[in-house]
Amino acid sequence: MVNGAQHDPEAARRLLAKTLSSVRGGEAEALYMARDFGLTRFANSQIHQNVIEHDATVRVRLTDDGRTGVASTNRLDNEGLRDVVARAVAIRDRAARNPDAAPLPDGGSTPHATLGSAEATTTADPSTRAQEAKAVIAAADGANLIASGAFSTETQTMAVANSRGVERSETSTLAKLITVVMDDAGGSGYSQAVSIDASDVDGAAVGAEAVDTARRSAGARDVDPGEYPVVLEPFAIGTVLEYLSFISFNALAVEEGRSFMELGRQVMGKNVDIWDDGCDLSGTPSTIDYEGVPKRRVDLVSGGTATGLVHDSMTARRAGTESTGHGLPAPNTWGPLAWNLFMAAGARSADDLIGQLDRGIWVTRFHYVNIVHAKKGILTGMTKDGTFLVEGGKVVRPIRNLRFTQSIPNAFSQIAAIGAETRLVAAEYSGINARVPALLIDRFAFTGATAADGPG
């Protein structure tokens, strides 16, 4: 359920116009972000946390002769808006001058965008979420397993206006159901469904997929760490792309020499195509960025060659190009971010990928991934919720979770086969969603294993 008033685009644009009208001197930008969010969380096969949030914020960025001040507030009455402008002015006027500061983006006014929104998500309420949570729990109950997870539904409206004529807004929605299903013997399975449309989210199907993996993963035993051929399911690939987005595809990281991306250079295998597209309905569309710039499709890696980077107005100015519409809210010291990622499918069925493993490991997903070395693209993390030993193209047995420490550009240079089907995957920690296939990779480094229990 949403607070309709805070998602009225005309009201949002009027609010921004009122905010900007009080600014004197220099350039000004106002960003409005409203959010109605509900999340129903379950654990031990019962709903244990259940929350609703309504919030709306205005963020003001003022620039004048290289000096910038940013202030934000969620108090949106006249006094709150006067106060946020006054605080931004106070910072701007006392700020040190930055000769490298970029002007605000140029632009125009476009109609309110709703490509990424669905009514079923906007109208979802606690009972809607409870119903799908109970469907997951029922699937687990049927297999004598324990279900945990969360179902969230969210409606966001963003509007951006600036003194150079930008006036754009968008409403988007997101529904996301995630579950981990476990037994007492260490078996666990995972599934998720993510869509802009809550009616696409089927708790019974999500539960059934997780239950299937959990049953097969019970009774896991150790396997020695080492380098193995692997099949990585889309859940694992989505996580990998999330981290590549943080450390590699961002023009600021490249400008500062922190990324392995070098335009025109072969950085992965020739069978790899990765791009960002905020307007593709098979993802979770968001068509403008937080500076009000329309998003463009950016081909990041094409045929294994680095072909593009995402830009915001600051990196674009320094690179002598135009923003691709990937700016984050000001002030942003991280640089631009690709958050609608895609990886091209191949031709192999899921069974084919497993069938090609002579002796290798099949990974359902990764957990707690982190960056070991950004420039080399080295990540570490654990496998989770279904890791299997495969021999002679057949699954032999479940194995205990392994730690990997692996250069991803190196791994993506050794992709032997790519799954024919792609799946939309929501990242574990960020808002980055990716549509990706499963991959068969010739060599992947597992550098450790978890303990059975306690000190062992």
């Binding site: 606690p126 969230s152 707690y368 303990a451």
Partner: protein, 482 residues
């Protein structure tokens, strides 16, 4: 404000709630970043709102709003009741709270110099001075410094009669130098990685850091690391600097002692814990030297407060005593499950989030190993690792891997070769069981971790860890192919 509270709690009672609480929170925060000699960003954020949490038929409901008006407070309470009734349709074990007496009173962080009253010019001056020190070192590619300060005013009231008011002030900062060549990126941070140090204090904490006085040193180390040899691989003796010990405590002790994790309440996201309830008072977590407590009263701790967000008073409880596991972090909902009363670690990140079990200041008590240099001089062969760069741990908090920014090989009791990209890995109880020396109280520091993620929707907790440098034997170092 009292009208807001009364209207919300009355509406909750009329909706059938057996328990309800309301939190009104206003948070102001400001930050400043200087990068490569120019002011990169300056920001002032203000957010305020209320959250109502209640129990109906033994099931939780929570709703929140940014509108601080009596009618809205009443509406939010009714909405929370609707949420609770939806929860009750999939409830198996009714929530039962412990018998913590209702709290009342005020708490404020002791502050000598209000960070909001220090001029922007003065703050920029500190960062630019540190920047100039780093800029004086040839080969540094990126120089960055930041300061952060915040004030949070929070009122908590419950249907049991609790009413507390708190004002928490935070301040801190840090600097970082990065050196880059064709194949390497090397960075050094001060005083710790990940954005610097943050504590509950006034601006005096920032002045004490002496950021300019450490700029040149970290810049020189970043540049030197570009040409340093790769960290060797193998099993060796490791000495960790105190901020890295703090993060080691955070990941391998702080999280697995959260009783909600232990009871499966975080299973689908952050994971569970190897410290299952059968291990309480019956499990060797570390060596005899290892003593860990959770102290919400620690001076300047980032997890220091007057009461948690259930009105439970701040307290100091033992977690690991002479290596034995003796305590959990608990809430009013979870503590009765192990026959105890909450020790007060249920905290929410802001008005729009529910309280979860969060670390307070989970700290390794100092040992009798003297200073860091005493640990090194007492080590024949090994490696000294300083400042976190990377961290990862499995869902039960057993298999961990950390990377640090810098390492020095130790030979015959002396630091020798500088090495780059060091990593180490282990299994939690084995690692802590191998701890054979902990530096003393004079080396003990209270560190802030302001980016502790937990819960759905995600909450970014501010927690603290005190630690001294410590030594561990037979640790696997140098992980992966480089």
């Amino acid at each position: 404000m009292q009208e807001l509270i009364d209207r919300a709690l009355d509406a909750a009672e009329r909706s059938g709630a057996s328990y309800a609480d309301i939190r009104l929170v206003e948070r102001e925060s400001e930050s400043l970043t200087v990068k490569n000699g120019a002011m990169e960003s300056a920001e002032a954020q203000r957010t305020a709102g209320l959250g109502v949490r209640l129990l109906i038929d033994g099931a939780w409901g929570f709703a929140s709003s940014a509108l601080l008006e009596p009618d809205e407070a009443e509406r939010v309470a009714r909405e929370a009741a609707e949420v609770a009734r939806a929860s009750a349709t999939a409830r198996r074990d009714p929530v039962q709270l412990d018998d913590t007496p209702p709290a009342g009173g005020r708490y404020a962080t002791p502050v000598r110099e209000d960070p909001f009253s220090v001029s922007l010019d003065e703050k920029v001056r500190i960062l630019l001075e540190a920047d100039r020190e780093m800029a004086g070192v040839p080969g540094v590619t990126i120089r960055e410094g930041s300061l952060d300060w915040a004030r949070e005013r929070k009122t908590f009231a419950s249907s049991e009669g609790a009413h507390t008011e708190q004002e928490i002030v935070e301040a801190g900062g840090g600097i970082e130098a990065t050196a880059v060549n064709d194949s390497e990126v090397q960075l050094r941070s001060y005083p710790q990685g990940g954005g610097g140090q943050l504590v509950t204090s006034g601006f005096e904490a920032v002045r004490r850091l002496d950021l300019p006085g450490n700029g040149r040193r970290i810049a020189e180390e970043a540049v030197a690391l570009l040409e340093a040899p790769q960290c060797p691989a193998g099993e060796m003796t490791v000495i960790l600097e105190s901020s890295q010990v703090a993060l080691q405590v955070h990941e391998s002790c702080g999280h697995p002692i959260e009783l909600d994790r232990v009871l499966g309440m975080e299973a689908s996201f952050a994971g569970t814990s190897f410290l299952t309830v059968d291990k309480l008072d019956d499990f060797r977590y570390g060596s005899d030297l290892v003593n860990i407590d959770a102290d919400a009263t620690a001076p300047e701790g980032l997890g220091t407060f007057g009461w948690d967000d259930e009105g439970v008073p701040a307290q100091n409880v033992p977690i690991v005593s002479a290596g034995e596991f003796v305590g959990y972090l608990t809430s009013r909902e979870t503590a009765p499950r192990i026959g105890r009363r909450s020790m007060g670690s249920s905290r929410a990140w802001g008005w729009n989030r529910i309280p979860l079990i969060r670390m307070t200041n989970v700290s390794l008590r100092p040992g009798n190993g003297g200073e860091l240099e005493d640990l090194i001089s007492d080590t024949n062969e090994g490696i000294y690792l300083e400042t976190n760069r990377s961290w990862s741990i499995d869902d039960r908090r057993l298999n961990f891997q950390f990377g640090t920014q810098v390492g020095w090989l130790i030979k015959n009791g002396r630091r020798t070769t500088l090495v780059r990209n060091p990593t180490y890995t282990g299994i939690t109880p084995r690692f802590w069981g191998s701890c054979d020396a902990i530096a003393g109280a004079s080396s003990w520091m209270q560190w802030g971790v302001p980016n502790c993620g937990k819960g759905e929707p995600m909450q970014t907790g501010h927690v603290g860890h005190g630690a001294s440098p410590a030594r561990f034997r037979k640790v696997q170092v140098g992980v992966g192919r480089w």
